[in-house]
């Protein structure tokens, strides 16, 4: 009986106390015709040794590749301390900190996290995280609509991560919110502020501004933010948190800063792990705090006046407000945020900036070398951060397949989302790549294009 500690004596004594003669009796309120038979598709139990063998074989099957794919999930070095501390039982196996006095570890950490994220994004406050970047954007949209009151329309550039757009549509369309797409300029790869003139007479609850956008291109965030604010439209920034060590934070975009900043927290110490668990972050200006979904931690005092931390603003939440809650969310990504907080603490402002700088410089280096290959050229002429699109003279899927044989995942095929762009590869080299790795990529790429 794996993980069940009961001895035969225990069972007998417990049944005696209950006054039943078998465990089976305890199920006597369940109608007989509902009782299930054997679980034929569940295999017999394995010992830990056996499952270890199986999982190691399956992991070995997947192997190791040099990864140059970004497209929303980035391969950064994760300090050993991050997960050694995060997986300590007291973090790993603890519950949501409803009992504040018995959860000060998690609560203080989350308060520290909120402080770091608010500062990184340049906003006034942060919640304690959401599921992932895509759903964080959906929640930001809902929040904007709640706060705006008169419009249920959102302006969404085509340069936002295409899957984020799908997720937003899936979630917010239930609430009859319209998503209006704003096109991007084919030369610069960004939304031209002047192209928004055609929307001047339309009302929107918010505009979404990605920075960098899905192509790695830097949007003209100041102009876009100011355009929105002129129209009493909220500006929602979707940002890469590592880039924020280097780039102007959403809170400082334009004259007054964006109103809400969201994004994917994965680059902050979370392994790629096939896409999850990651975490979404969300920060906002003071006037929106009571509209924010998810957990929020506040600092307060105990009976003796000592500083402590609690879940606060719970009146927004589903377990209190039920059908009137700001969101149905009742889970943040506690453990992921634990890792991210430790990561940010280990890196510090200078370290995180260096990670951003080296990721950018490596991608720059790779691009400069690849552009020397005949037929390969950068698609967009704008400034970018640590990721860029390249036009190839051969079918991307062929090139990717050849590179894979050399142990390299060479990038993301943009045709999957932008078929009109033709054979275009989105490529990213983070700080984890050495000069030799980049050289090897270039060499193999030349071969693959032959």
């Amino acid at each position: 009986m794996p993980f069940i500690p009961h001895t035969q004596d225990d069972i007998a004594e417990m049944l005696a106390s209950i006054g039943s003669d078998s465990i089976e009796t305890l199920f006597d309120e369940i109608p007989d015709d509902l009782r299930s038979g054997r679980l034929n598709n569940v295999p017999p139990g394995l010992s830990e040794m056996e499952i270890s063998r199986l999982m190691m074989e399956r992991a070995a099957q997947d192997g190791f590749y040099q990864n140059f794919i970004g497209a929303g999930a980035y391969d950064h070095h994760i300090p050993a301390a991050v997960w050694q501390i995060t997986t300590r039982g007291e973090f790993y196996s603890s519950y949501t900190p409803y009992q504040a006095e018995a959860s000060q570890g998690t609560l203080q950490l989350l308060y520290e996290y909120q402080t770091m994220m608010a500062s990184l994004t340049g906003m006034d406050a942060s919640n304690a995280s959401l599921y992932d970047g895509a759903t964080a954007l959906a929640e930001a949209v809902l929040m904007a609509v709640r706060s705006h009151r008169s419009s249920r329309r959102i302006l969404m550039p085509q340069t936002v991560h295409p899957v984020y757009k799908k997720v937003v549509r899936a979630i917010v369309s239930n609430q009859k919110i319209d998503i209006v797409e704003a096109p991007f300029c084919a030369e610069s790869g960004r939304v031209l502020p002047e192209s928004l003139e055609k929307f001047d007479d339309e009302e929107f609850a918010a505009i979404v501004i990605p920075q960098p956008n899905f192509f790695g291109v830097l949007e003209q965030v100041n102009e876009l933010t100011d355009w929105a604010h002129r129209k009493k439209t909220l500006a929602i920034g979707v940002v890469n948190p590592v880039s924020l060590a280097l780039l102007t934070p959403p809170g400082e975009w334009g004259s007054n800063g964006a109103d809400i900043a969201v994004g994917e927290g994965q680059p902050l110490g979370i392994p790629l792990s096939s896409g999850g668990p990651y975490f979404g972050f969300m920060a906002c200006k003071n006037n929106l705090i009571r509209q924010i979904p998810g957990r929020i931690i506040g600092r307060t005092n105990d009976l003796d006046g000592k500083q402590g931390f609690v879940l606060t603003l719970q009146a927004r939440e589903q377990h209190i407000r039920r059908s009137k809650a700001t969101s149905n969310i009742c889970t943040n990504q506690g453990l992921m945020v634990t890792a991210a907080t430790i990561y940010m603490s280990l890196l510090g402002p200078d370290g995180l900036r260096r990670v951003a700088e080296h990721s950018h410089a490596n991608t720059m280096d790779l691009l400069q070398q690849l552009e020397k290959i005949s037929g390969v050229k950068k698609v967009f002429n704008s400034p970018f951060f640590h990721e860029a699109a390249l036009k190839l003279p051969k079918p991307v899927n062929l090139v990717l397949a050849r590179m894979k044989e050399k142990g390299i995942l060479a990038g993301f095929d943009l045709q999957a989302f932008y078929p009109e762009m033709g054979d275009t590869l989105l490529v990213c080299a983070t700080e984890t790549k050495t000069a030799a790795d980049i050289q090897n990529y270039v060499t193999q790429f030349e071969q693959a294009l032959k």
Binding site: E264, I320, R354
Partner: protein, 483 residues
């Protein structure tokens, strides 16, 4: 002390960042940040020491018993953590080609098949990232189903008053109106109320069974008939699946949609509040609407099913494919349990709950539904105690912390006054339950003899009772250097 208070300007952790700075060539100055963010400037040891010490201020399953109703706090096997974190799994990019992830995909496929069998459903998608998202997706599928049939007038979701707050909140997020129905004295849904509630507007009923009152809905088959005959669908909130795992399949009870909280029944870690994971299962008629992606298998090759193959899918609800690392842990757990082990989960969770209920009753506590079997949880009400002594359920909960036990769930379900919802889970031993009963008896004596001791609890935690009101009134959500 906060991590920021350990910091000093210019302190750096030299091993954890590139040793050199690098050029930001190509990024015009206008895009660059001018003032560095408030991340702590500390050493590696500062970080390790600070967060190690913080961790010690937490209760956790690895250190304490959590008799936390509705949350199923059971042992999280360490092997699940170790094996889900094998470097190849951690290093795999979500957009890496399928043929570089056949090992991972095989695990996901196997998990889908196992969950199908356990729930009696026709299809499973592993995408939802938490219970509440599972609910959202489930209700979206109900909506999509009716819409696909041109049945546009079904605008109501029926929810029992004992339901989790997520149920009504989710229904509203999906654009439905919530119709709440009452519970009868025995803890079952009031069938007459249900009959009165259903009609042409009924999109569906959301039900937790065993319910949050800790009892099995004996009339579930009848309820299913009533809702289905009215043209509605049945949604199964899997929060309490642990109580009937291997004993009853939701599909056999007539449910059309289900979500399964892996962090409850399948023992993935709660992690201080996430990440969760909540696969959804559907009956055959809802298969076209399942969220993508999920995994299919052909001739031993695994691949993602996407929008292409499932044009009617409600779509994607996460940037990738859900919480893969959590799913791996759940997969490892079910393989460790196996067929027979899975059956025993419900048996011993139920044995523990009924034993604890019997012992607490003998100790003088009032049981909310004393004539019923406990499922894997049950309710103690302190209404009478509160009326007589002023000691509340919250006071007792805090006093339990002093005695080394996490508090049960308090004030939920809302319809039982001063309630404690107690769920011991199958992984706790009789000795631990006995120690808990002893603590409860001690507190009962304290309530009589020195009620203030209980009212002012806790006394042995790192802090005394915290001021929630001040926290909400004088919002302090971020540390500031000059504060």
């Amino acid at each position: 002390m906060l991590i920021f208070e350990h910091a000093r300007p210019g302190r750096r952790n030299y091993s954890q960042a590139p040793t050199t700075t690098a050029s930001t060539e190509g990024i015009p100055d206008q895009f660059l940040r001018k003032k560095q963010p408030l991340l702590p400037e500390v050493s590696e040891m500062d970080t390790v020491r600070h967060y190690t010490r913080l961790s010690q201020k937490n209760f956790s399953i690895d250190t304490e018993f959590y008799p936390l109703g509705s949350c199923t706090m059971k042992y999280n096997p360490r092997a699940c953590n170790a094996l889900a974190m094998l470097p190849q799994f951690l290093g795999r990019h979500p957009l890496a080609p399928e043929d570089t992830g056949q090992g991972f995909l095989a695990c996901m496929y196997d998990l889908q098949e196992i969950l199908k069998d356990v729930t009696g459903m026709a299809g499973i998608s592993l995408a939802p990232m938490a219970g509440a998202q599972g609910e959202l997706i489930g209700v979206m599928m109900i909506r999509a189903y009716h819409e696909s049939r041109g049945d546009h007038d079904r605008t109501e979701i029926i929810v029992p008053d004992a339901a989790h707050g997520t149920n009504p909140a989710t229904a509203v997020m999906c654009g439905f109106k919530v119709v709440e129905i009452a519970t009868d004295k025995e803890g079952n849904v009031d069938l007459n109320a249900l009959k009165a509630a259903v009609g042409p507007k009924t999109a569906g009923l959301m039900l937790t069974n065993p319910s949050t009152l800790g009892v099995f809905e004996e009339n579930v088959t009848e309820m299913s008939r009533i809702v289905h005959e009215a043209g509605g669908l049945l949604y199964y909130d899997g929060a309490n699946l642990n109580a009937v795992l291997g004993k009853v399949k939701p599909g056999d009870m007539g449910f059309d949609v289900i979500h399964i909280n892996l962090h409850k029944t399948f023992s993935t870690p709660h992690g201080g509040g996430g990440p969760g994971s909540a696969p959804v299962g559907v009956a055959k008629r809802l298969l076209p609407f399942l969220p993508v992606p999920f995994v299919s298998s052909e001739n031993g090759t695994y691949s993602w099913v996407t929008e292409k193959e499932r044009p009617q899918s409600i779509g994607r609800l996460s940037a990738h494919m859900g919480n893969a690392g959590v799913l791996l842990r759940a997969y490892i757990y079910v393989r460790l349990l196996g067929r027979d082990g899975m059956n025993r989960v419900a048996e011993f969770a139920t044995l523990n709950a009924n034993y604890l209920m019997a012992e607490l009753k003998k100790a003088g506590f009032e049981i909310a539904f004393p004539t019923r079997r406990a499922s894997h949880e049950f309710i103690v009400t302190l209404k009478d105690i509160k009326d007589k002594t002023g000691v509340t359920a919250m006071n007792l909960a805090k006093r339990l912390l002093d005695k080394g036990f996490h508090a049960p769930t308090t004030y939920f379900p809302i319809l039982v006054p001063e309630c404690l919802l107690i769920e011991p889970a199958e992984t706790e031993s009789k000795q631990t339950l006995d120690a808990f009963v002893t603590a409860m008896k001690e507190i009962l004596a304290e309530i009589k003899e020195q009620p203030d001791l209980v009212k002012n609890a806790p006394h042995t935690m790192p802090l005394r009772k915290l001021d929630d009101v001040k926290a909400a009134r004088e919002l302090d959500l971020c540390w500031k250097p000059d504060a």
